[in-house]
Amino acid sequence: MKALKYILTGILFGIILTKSEAVSWYRIQEMFRFQSIFMYGIIGTAVISGIILVAVIKKFRLKDTDGQAIQFPAKDKRWKKYLIGGSIFGMGWAMTGACPGPIFILLGQGYTVMLAVIAGALAGTFFYGILRNRLPQ
């Protein structure tokens, strides 16, 4: 039963990201070339809605469906990993036109070549797991 709930939420996510065109390689190029407000509008309105959502939850100490208080874990304060890791991810985002969610959504759309991106992403994850202790955090 629980699985079904998350599958349905995932289906919604796949439909929304497809219809938003945020999964489009062309749209990501347009964004990194600053040639349209489109992607900035999506991310901007998502973040503004998210800020309101989080603020309301904190203000009224809302609970989740299991009755637990909703908490937002703070990210740890080291900065190197965010800047370096973020830049590495940004390169892959521009090359494939997809971030991790869209990789799988595009697979569902029938772009089976995304299997190569998934294989690459798992290899990258694996290498990070091995090298983690040697990298600046």
């Binding site: 998350y6 599958i7 990194f32 990993k81 800047l83 590495i88 991790p100 697979l107 690459g120 797991g129």
Partner: protein, 186 residues
Amino acid sequence: MISLLSHPWPWYVSGPAIAAIMAILVFSGKTFGFSANLSNICSLLGFGKHFSYFNFDWKKQQWNLWFLVGSVIGGYIAVHYLQSPQPLSLSTSTVTDLEKLKIPFDGKLEPGSIFTWKYLFTGKGLLLFLGGGFLIGFGTRYAGGCTSGHAISGLSNLQFPSLIAVIGFFIGGLFTTHLLFPIIFK
């Protein structure tokens, strides 16, 4: 209703809709962060036996893997039943820029000239898809999150580290688009 959903969505509808996904997960006691699934899959494959980074109970993250399965199905449903008849309304300057790189704009979501198996098995294709995928996996795990975990969840919670990560996303993306693409697609 279906025809309304099929039309291209304006960005001010899409943004709040993405935030709604975060709301559903938050009210279920979960966190919106898709790239955690890359670690979850490595853990599920048993890499935790040899490498401590993957030594965690992935079953606690099972919900996120179901979310992943759903997103694949959602992609299928969206293109088969909610496809817009209109071509993508890409900015004309982007179309011109991409023509210079010999990537024609075909009005679809993805350029048909490069999103094929045939293209994958060229030097450029391997670099773009396999190499790009590697950078996505390595980078998102290093940064501890991707667009959903940092740009949406992190910024919504006003997390300064997430802002640094998003600045990183753009450093990498701008570098690749403006400096590497002219070399790769020469």
